[in-house]
């Protein structure tokens, strides 16, 4: 009947992994109550975190308003370092988003059913990260109110954006990515919004959730259409995991600048994006799992799987670092060799370079240990460290390449101003605020998928009867 036939899921992730993806087989009602509880009851910790992130958002608003009214001369960047904090943060935030799509779409197509209890959080993270990412290049335009000049439309200027430049490619890639991610997230939400509608305590909330559930009744017909649409969107989203950050990397690699002009950039950036994104998933998921007592549906199996992925990505990233540096020597080009072998390791930003290399290459090595892969504290700390390391990686790529290029007479040191720091810190506030609002108003676990998984996990109906 179903157009999308799924083979029976393998619940053990790999040979020797003996953690279940769900523990205690809670029934459907218990799952609904557990996931929806934060929607109906707001805890004090939520308000405290919300207040902190709202302050961060205010800082962002203030620094953005200052930048827009005074101009981007308030930032530290100046020729030759025309791209600095803004583009670093743009690439970093957009990379964060990739893990969300990776978990939700890639793993759906690969039939990794463990994704069901964490994909909602990961997708929300993607969308909020993209909102933050878009902010930076828009501000960097200098006159953000002319942002629409980046879009090819029939303007009275009779000229198009420069299609040979990677920047309009960025606009196309990021807007496509945002649209598909939003649609994918919302579609997956519909059955859960209907659950929220049906169990909401007041008529007003039932109506609001009912409005967003768009008449979902959970009929066989609706489920059939839903599954087709969901897999189609996943198929649309999956290539974007690869393409979006590849396009972002072209901002750099199509330039002739030593440190940017490299063919390894697209895969190197995609790997780094998924790596940092997985770290962000853990940073969000681990406290959430603890606060909402989601231990039964977010188990060691999930942490183990994410940690393994991070280890794999970390190794690929380390490989990219090695190849990049080797190729600069192998090119026999003086400028290339100078950037990779002198300027980065021993130049003015050498400290950032070495910290970045250390954090990104060494910290995932912890995950060779089976015990550390499921240790919440170790995972959380390693993820924070990796997030910082990945931000520094983009900083190193952008600033150390620009500040010392071919012309020694134009060498210039970049030092961020308080506005640079304020916008960066403020963007964390905005991200946190959006995420907290998401936790308060949207079911943060894909209940329908978890329930489906529970039924598929039963060995036979006789052995373990359904308790709904």
């Amino acid at each position: 009947m179903s157009a999308v036939a799924r083979p029976a899921p393998s619940l053990a992730l790999a040979e020797g992994d003996d953690w279940p993806v769900m523990r205690g087989a809670p029934n459907d009602a218990a799952i609904t109550d557990m996931v929806l509880a934060p929607l109906w009851h707001t805890r004090r910790i939520w308000w405290i975190l919300f207040a902190i992130s709202a302050l961060g958002t205010l800082l962002l608003l203030a620094t953005v308003a200052y930048t827009v009214t005074v101009g981007i001369g308030t930032w530290g960047n100046n020729i030759p370092v025309a791209w600095a904090f803004a583009i670093t943060s743009f690439v970093w935030w957009i990379g964060i988003g990739h893990a969300g799509t990776f978990i939700s779409a890639f793993l759906l197509l690969l039939n990794q059913r463990w994704r069901g209890s964490i994909n909602r959080v990961a997708e929300a993270m993607t969308i909020f990260a993209l909102v933050n990412a878009a902010l930076f290049p828009l501000l960097h335009l200098g006159r953000p109110w002319f942002f629409y000049w980046l879009i090819p439309y029939p303007a009275t200027m009779n000229v198009w954006p420069n299609f040979k430049s990677a920047l309009p490619w960025d606009v196309a890639a990021v807007t496509t990515y945002f649209t598909v991610s939003l649609l994918f997230w919302y579609l997956g939400l519909v059955p859960d919004l209907a659950s929220a509608r049906d169990s909401a305590p007041s008529r007003l909330r039932r109506r609001v959730y009912g409005l967003f559930a768009m008449g979902w009744r959970g009929s066989g017909f609706q489920w059939q259409r839903f599954n087709v649409a969901y897999v189609l969107l996943a198929a649309l989203a999956t290539p974007l995991v690869i393409s979006v950050h590849s396009v972002v990397s072209l901002d750099f690699s199509i330039a002739q600048l030593p440190g940017w002009h490299s063919t390894i950039f697209p895969p190197y950036f995609v790997v780094g994006a998924i790596y940092s994104g997985l770290a962000m998933v853990l940073v969000l998921l681990l406290p959430l799992r603890r606060a909402f007592r989601l231990y039964d549906i977010v188990t060691e199996a999930h942490l183990n799987a994410i940690a393994k992925l991070m280890l794999a990505m970390g190794l690929m990233l380390a490989y990219s670092y090695v190849i990049e540096t080797f190729m600069s020597w192998y090119s026999a080009n003086a400028a290339e060799r100078y950037t990779y072998l002198a300027s980065r390791p021993f130049g003015p930003y050498a400290v950032v370079y070495w910290i970045m290399t250390g954090l990104n290459v060494l910290s995932p090595q912890l995950f060779w240990s089976r015990r550390l892969r499921t240790n919440g504290t170790a995972l959380f700390l390693a993820s924070i460290v990796i997030l910082a390391g990945m931000w520094m990686e983009r900083f190193v790529i952008i600033v150390t390449s620009l500040n010392r290029d071919f012309l020694t007479s134009s060498w210039h040191i970049y030092i961020p101003t308080w506005v640079d720091w304020g916008i960066l810190a403020g963007s964390f506030g905005l991200f946190g605020m959006l995420f907290l609002l998401f936790l308060k108003f949207v079911p943060s676990v894909a209940m329908s998928e978890v329930k489906e998984l529970r039924i598929e996990m039963r060995k036979t109906p006789e052995q373990e009867p359904l308790r709904a």
């Binding site: 009275t156 009779n158 009912g210």
Partner: protein, 213 residues
């Protein structure tokens, strides 16, 4: 439990979907259309001036050449608004005591120029040179329109970048012989354009730095 939504909300939902789609398409289309209207380009809006100078009388009636007053158009980037002393040779006899000319007499005696209001305003980031256009066969009329028919001068061209660029991409059809540079109501001859372009060495100049320096 009563139904969460009454029946008519189905219609409302569909209507909302259609309205949202129409807005998403309609607003950008409407904006793109609006910037092309004279409302946005400020075309055809007569600009009030300190003296009720009527171009119809001077150009059509007295047959005075544009360059008699705007004499720097051929030599300078700026076409020039004439000093009031230019009025004197004729107006020392004609209409000398008219009230209309009171500000001119005042300006001539005090030596303080009149403050004319600008009609064709280009943004500060656009470099424009009258002399090169006039000397290469672009007539006054091509940009300023039928000034001979204007009681109060208004902006005749949209002055959008596409308007500039369209001519810069293919200038030949817009050229006229230098002898007819100030002619109003010039009828262009199709074969003449390419010949004039060759004669005056007119090329298509569309690099950014042609106008944005």
């Amino acid at each position: 439990m009563p139904a969460l939504f009454p029946h008519w909300t189905n219609t409302l939902a569909r209507a909302t979907l259609i309205a949202v789609l129409c807005t998403l398409v309609g607003v950008p289309v409407a904006l793109m259309a609006w910037v092309r209207t004279p409302n946005a380009t400020r075309q055809y809006e007569p600009v009030a001036q300190p003296v009720a100078f009527d171009h119809r009388i001077h150009v059509t009636g007295q047959r005075i050449d544009c360059r008699y007053c705007h004499y720097s158009a051929e030599r300078s980037s700026y076409a020039g608004i004439p000093p009031t002393s230019v009025c004197v040779p004729c107006h020392s006899t004609a209409w000398m005591s008219s009230d209309v000319l009171a500000p001119v007499r005042q300006s001539v005696s005090s030596g303080r120029p009149l403050r004319w209001n600008r009609v064709d305003a280009l943004p500060g980031f656009v470099y424009f040179n009258h002399a090169i256009h006039v000397n290469k066969g672009v007539g006054c009329e091509s940009c300023h329109g039928r000034v001979d028919r204007m009681a109060q001068v208004y902006q005749a061209a949209p002055l959008t970048m596409s308007w500039c660029v369209n001519c810069h991409r293919n200038p030949a059809p817009h050229l006229r012989p230098l002898s007819a540079i100030t002619t109003m109501g010039y009828v262009s001859q199709r074969e003449l354009g390419p010949q004039l372009a060759q004669k005056y060495h007119v090329r298509s100049l569309t690099t950014c730095t042609t106008c944005h320096r």
